[in-house]
């Protein structure tokens, strides 16, 4: 076992130790914060589905559902629009000011409109997630399409790809795949963060974000932190999933790029 491995293995225990000490030295009140010695057993109990009031497996399912709905719509819209504005200069000119105006508005600012328009529904939650994740997908796709090397397009044309739909399908999209996947990964990360915000306002009686707020009302910081932990773990797993997909879809780049 190398030195680096030892440090990596020490990282989490060391962090837990600092947290434990911090709790006992500075807080010491179980209504305000919980030490890891209390959180970890609580987390295990919740994750196993042993607490009927906070039934975490179902909360995970609800959150993943909100995430999947919001993000898949964001991906579809972001990708199609990205190709459109990347390829057609006119589409870019028309949409650019609107995109740049809407993009800086944080997803949370959309919550009132989402509730007014869509009521307390899954769709409202998905909408918040959509707003948060559509722009990274769109901008990265657009960037990828715009930076397709001219020589590839010319080569394809002299090989008979003279129709622009064929060029799009066979040259432009495959060659911008790297950017598209980067956009999807960044978008997915934001989408997952938006899940909490989207569920806080109570679209459903379940969901990781919803339960965090409930646990706060119950003055159970150990449950709050357990749900935070669940969000972290699932987010990490999602990102790993994208990394694997990326490696698979972009296997042609192995040896061509540094990492």
């Amino acid at each position: 076992m190398g030195k680096d491995t030892v440090y990596t293995l020490l990282s989490i225990p060391l962090f837990l130790l600092c947290w434990e000490l911090f709790y006992h030295v500075f807080v010491g009140n179980p209504l305000l914060l919980a030490p890891p010695s209390k959180v970890l057993p609580t987390f295990a109990e919740l994750a196993a589905g042993l607490n009927p009031r906070f039934f975490m497996p179902l909360d995970m399912a609800y959150s993943l559902f909100h995430y999947a709905l919001g993000f898949s719509l964001a991906f579809l819209a972001g990708f199609s629009l990205g190709v459109l504005v990347g390829w057609f200069r006119l589409a870019d000119k028309i949409s650019y000011p609107v995109v740049e105006l809407i993009r800086p508005i944080p997803p949370i600012a959309w919550i009132p409109i989402a509730i007014l328009l869509l009521k307390l529904t899954h769709t409202a939650a998905a909408f918040i997630i959509f707003i948060g994740s559509v722009f990274p997908v769109l901008l990265n796709t657009q960037n990828g399409v715009k930076s397709v090397e001219r020589k590839f397009i010319e080569a394809a044309m002299t090989l008979g790809a003279t129709n622009s739909l064929v060029l799009l399908r066979k040259v432009i999209i495959p060659s911008s795949m790297g950017s598209v996947i980067t956009g999807a990964r960044v978008g997915s990360g934001i989408a997952w963060m938006c899940v909490v915000a989207a569920e806080l306002f109570g679209v459903a009686p379940y969901g990781l974000g919803y339960q965090i707020e409930m646990a706060r009302l119950y003055h159970s910081p150990e449950i709050v932190i357990s749900y935070m932990l669940a969000i972290g773990v699932l987010g990490l797993l999602l990102d790993r999933g994208y990394k694997l997909t990326e490696r698979k879809l972009l296997s042609w780049r192995i040896g061509l790029v540094a990492t």
């Binding site: 020589k151 590839f152 010319e154 080569a155 394809a156 044309m157 002299t158 090989l159 008979g160 790809a161 003279t162 064929v166 066979k170 040259v171 495959p174 060659s175 795949m177 042609w252 780049r253 040896g255 061509l256």
Partner: protein, 262 residues
């Protein structure tokens, strides 16, 4: 006139090309040229003279300002697989394997998957890349990449193969070797090849005719018939004489460029 000359495949008529700008740049100023079916026509000229532009107009990648190019009696309106092109920088699709690259043009025709793979493999064999079908372009050497690009162009079964300084990025040995390989492939396919190069030795080694262009704006300065039998001996007196002739002709043009400050 060589006896082997048969049908005219490409007719270039009063071709002019001006690039917009301030001031506009005339790249080609009146070129008339016939290209015979089955010949290897080399185009040489001082750098920046417009030889690549001429090739790109034949390919349909640039539109002439006036005049026209006819291939098989039909005016060129845009790019098409009857005029496949091989680029200096290979332009192989990095996301496709060698097989995938060679199959690209075939996929656009109404062929079954088996026919596509069969044909692609046939051309991969022709250029000597068997065993590398599943490699990606960046895993190959420059010479091998250019073979793959050649196979990709040939697989479209074009009437004419346009080559834009295809061996320009290769080292000297690989370059000489590839010239020989190109001639072998030509023996088997008898394709009409238009080959742009700045390397006079290369033109004399592979060309049936050599078109020498003037400094910009390009006009035809002279056309040299290369009657030496193939394979040619690069060190024979006849070869060296021809080479000297073309080089001197080019030097005049280089000097013209230099003195006019163009």
């Amino acid at each position: 006139m060589q006896p082997s000359k048969g049908r005219i495949l490409v007719e270039i008529r009063e071709l002019r090309k001006e690039f917009e700008g301030a001031p506009p740049v005339t790249a080609i100023d009146g070129i008339d040229l016939d290209i015979w079916e089955g010949e290897i026509l080399c185009i040489v000229g001082p750098s920046g003279c417009g030889k690549t532009t001429l090739l790109r107009i034949i390919a349909g990648l640039e539109k002439p300002t006036s005049g026209k190019v006819l291939v098989d009696g039909k005016t060129v309106m845009g790019p098409g697989s009857d005029r496949a092109m091989v680029f200096q920088e290979y332009a192989l699709f990095p996301w496709r394997t060698i097989l995938g690259n060679v199959a690209f043009g075939l996929e656009l025709k109404k062929l079954s998957r088996n026919e596509i793979v069969g044909k692609a493999e046939e051309y991969i064999r022709l250029v000597g890349l068997s065993g590398f079908e599943e490699k990606y372009p960046h895993q190959l050497s420059g010479g091998m990449m250019q073979r793959a690009a050649l196979a990709r162009a040939l697989a479209c079964e074009p009437h004419i193969l346009l080559m834009d300084e295809p061996f320009g990025a290769l080292d000297a040995q690989t370059r000489n070797f590839m010239q020989g390989e190109l001639l072998n492939i030509w023996e088997k396919t008898r394709k009409t090849i238009v080959f742009v190069t700045h390397n006079v030795e290369e033109a004399v080694y592979i060309g049936d005719r050599i078109v020498i262009l003037t400094a910009r704006p390009a006009k035809i300065k002279s056309i040299v018939d290369v009657t030496l039998g193939k394979p040619r001996d690069r060190l024979s007196p006849e070869f060296i004489n021809l080479r000297r002739g073309v080089l001197e002709s080019l030097r005049e043009e280089m000097l013209a460029t230099f003195h006019s400050g163009r």
